[in-house]
Symmetry: C2
Subunit: 207 residues, 2 copies
Amino acid sequence: MSRRKSYHHGNLREALLEASIRLIAEVGPTAFTLREVARRAGVSHNAPYRHFRDKEDLLGAVANEGFKELTQAMLDEAALKSNRDALDRLRGAGLAYVKFALRRPEHFAVMFDAPIAKVDDPEAGEVPKRAFDTLLNFVKVCQDERQLIAGDPLELAFLSWSIVHGIAKLAIARRLPYESQAEVLKFAKFVLDQSLPACPGTSAAKQ
Amino acid sequence: MSRRKSYHHGNLREALLEASIRLIAEVGPTAFTLREVARRAGVSHNAPYRHFRDKEDLLGAVANEGFKELTQAMLDEAALKSNRDALDRLRGAGLAYVKFALRRPEHFAVMFDAPIAKVDDPEAGEVPKRAFDTLLNFVKVCQDERQLIAGDPLELAFLSWSIVHGIAKLAIARRLPYESQAEVLKFAKFVLDQSLPACPGTSAAKQ
DNA sequence: CAAGCAATGTGGACATTGACAACATTTATA
DNA sequence: TATAAATGTTGTCAATGTCCACATTGCTTG
């Protein structure tokens, strides 16, 4: 059943990344082992070391894959609401953030629970930054359209991030009294409505 | 240098807990090992099994210790502001939450990053609950004094929790652009001012 | 196009770990 | 006081991360 005919795999790095993501989804980041990943990729227990410095380096690459997907998820959700308020799009991005976290809780944990790993690729650090910039952009548009209070857009972006991150983390840790994804998202909607500092008179008018 | 003269330790369970908390603070939850804890407590590598089912059980007990300290920290901080607004006390509790997380980031991680462990003690599950009830109480008082919007106090407590939890987690993960605890706390204050759904005309009047 | 070097994969080794079983010592109870 | 229950110890095992030496392949350069 060996998928590989030649000595060299040809695309081992990608295969290891995919296998890692799947393994983490199954057993969690703690029970994740390098050797099991190698087994699943059909290579010896030492092959991964040709592509990743060590376990931490591989997990760093896994995290970066997560940030790419997260960015895309936020963009997609906001695109669905292209005909709505800027604030609706920002809220949509926030909900997409929570949705992603609920759909891939273990992957999400790898992205945020470990110390930021220095991936070999020097531009790797840009990937999480792009995720944040996505959020930042939505904030800026809201401010341009006077739907969010004026002020440092960076600060407001970090505020928005903190809110959805807190909801996501608590939901994953099962500390919120909501069972289904739908319930969590309803709560997230409530929090975003109440807590994004919208300008009075917008669609977010409280009460 | 054995601190122990008799075969039996006398208070090994507590000693293991303390050693664990210190070890985790030093090396983080990942590098934490049962055997090193045993070494530090001056007992054999198997002694811990007489007091904890397994590693996870010990970490669960460590987590509960954290929840006790967290509850106390919130109460203390609010007590300092006993002569202020109810909303100020709620904000104080929130800041105490963030402060605790920054002071013991690894301990905080044990409390929230692992699946909720079933500690043997059947009333152990009450400890995290008490931490939340502390927050819930501050919310209720705010509502009684018309400083927070009306509505389900539970929902508002979870909203408050989500906000401070998000800030704490992002700060620990070094995803916020703030270096010092003071900077993080200033940001936390900003977020709480902007995002707790205060009634108009209170001390939290926005802008 | 050939030779040799860099890249990639393998097998073996080692210290460390969590956990189990069997045994030792102490404390408490009947 | 005898004997059972608690508590601590030593021995063992499979699994893991990482290192090393070696094998195989692909690519470059003369």
